[in-house]
Symmetry: C3
Subunit: 139 residues, 3 copies
């Protein structure tokens, strides 16, 4: 079985956001897979997807704090500043975290760890709606 | 052909560890694939999987040194400190390196470069046993 | 349908390079997939693959600047210096960005975002030709 569909995620503030529920509820076909995989590709270069702790909002705030410090807007190294001070750091953060995820599906559900959730990492001040392509396959 | 199974890796000290042999020996089904892929997802948010040099232990020690310096335990930015000083840095390191790998299988064996090995990156002081889901598919 | 082939990318200077066209033109079989995926694994531990902005060369120069600053050659933390000052930083950069990509295929073409391109990230001063294994599958 193969399924491929484009999804759009709601606009979110700059920061790290749990989107597991939003993504899974848009993909009812996952229930038809006993063994398979789900691949997600965010179609952007200034946002990213990652897996991390799905419980404490503190963790997500600390992600934003660390990435802002590690890839600062105010830096003399940036030459690509024409799209705003948040643009070039957003590209670097997106590459560090990655724009795609591949996740196992088991008995019709994503097989994640108890504490794992999917983060949409919004690195722009005004990123707007974010599109992704979801592809699921298996048996 | 599809195969999906949960594996448990032996507990390891904080640091970067070669686990190629431990993983491959737990997956004899790979021998039945002439062309395919193996997907590994670590079911944790404070450890990670990556590919890197499989020869010199110095390289793995330098990984630990760089990541500890880049994501320090002693920092005023952390607010999520309730699970210990090694917890929040572990989450960041896990996201930077990633919790999953997808690897090609050719003629029944992982098709890696000569110098590539699978690292389990243990970011906690006492991470204990680590579980992962292995999914292989192909023909 | 399954396809698996080893490709060799032309040698490139240290830095970040757009290679989408070079890769796609080496894989005419993609045209036979209506829905599928392409997996790429670079067979090296001192170079990497990532997706990012495919337009401005400034962006790619800023990638090089940020990674050189974040993972400096001159640092007292390195013990693995036998292969040259650019070697150990190259291993770290490769792990941060990752050696593989999985990309959706739709109607015979890579389904990337408008601004997304595949970067070969060459972290060595003289990396030479870089080999990768391309695996495509789908229907």
């Amino acid at each position: 079985m193969w399924m491929q569909r484009e999804l759009t995620l709601e606009p979110r503030l700059r920061g790290f956001h749990l989107v597991t529920r939003e993504i899974v509820s848009a993909l009812p076909e996952l229930e038809r897979l006993s063994i398979g995989l789900l691949h997600l590709l965010l179609l952007h270069t200034s946002a990213s997807l990652t897996l991390n702790e799905n419980a404490s909002p503190d963790v997500r705030a600390d992600f934003e704090a660390w990435f802002d410090q590690a890839v600062p807007e105010r830096s003399t190294i940036w030459t690509h500043t024409i799209e705003g001070p948040d643009d070039m750091p957003a590209h670097i953060k997106s590459a560090l975290l990655g724009a795609s995820l591949t996740l196992p599906v088991r008995q019709g559900r994503l097989a994640l760890g108890t504490w794992q959730g999917i983060y949409l990492c919004e690195h722009r001040d005004r990123g707007g709606r974010r599109a992704l392509i979801a592809t699921a396959w298996g048996e």
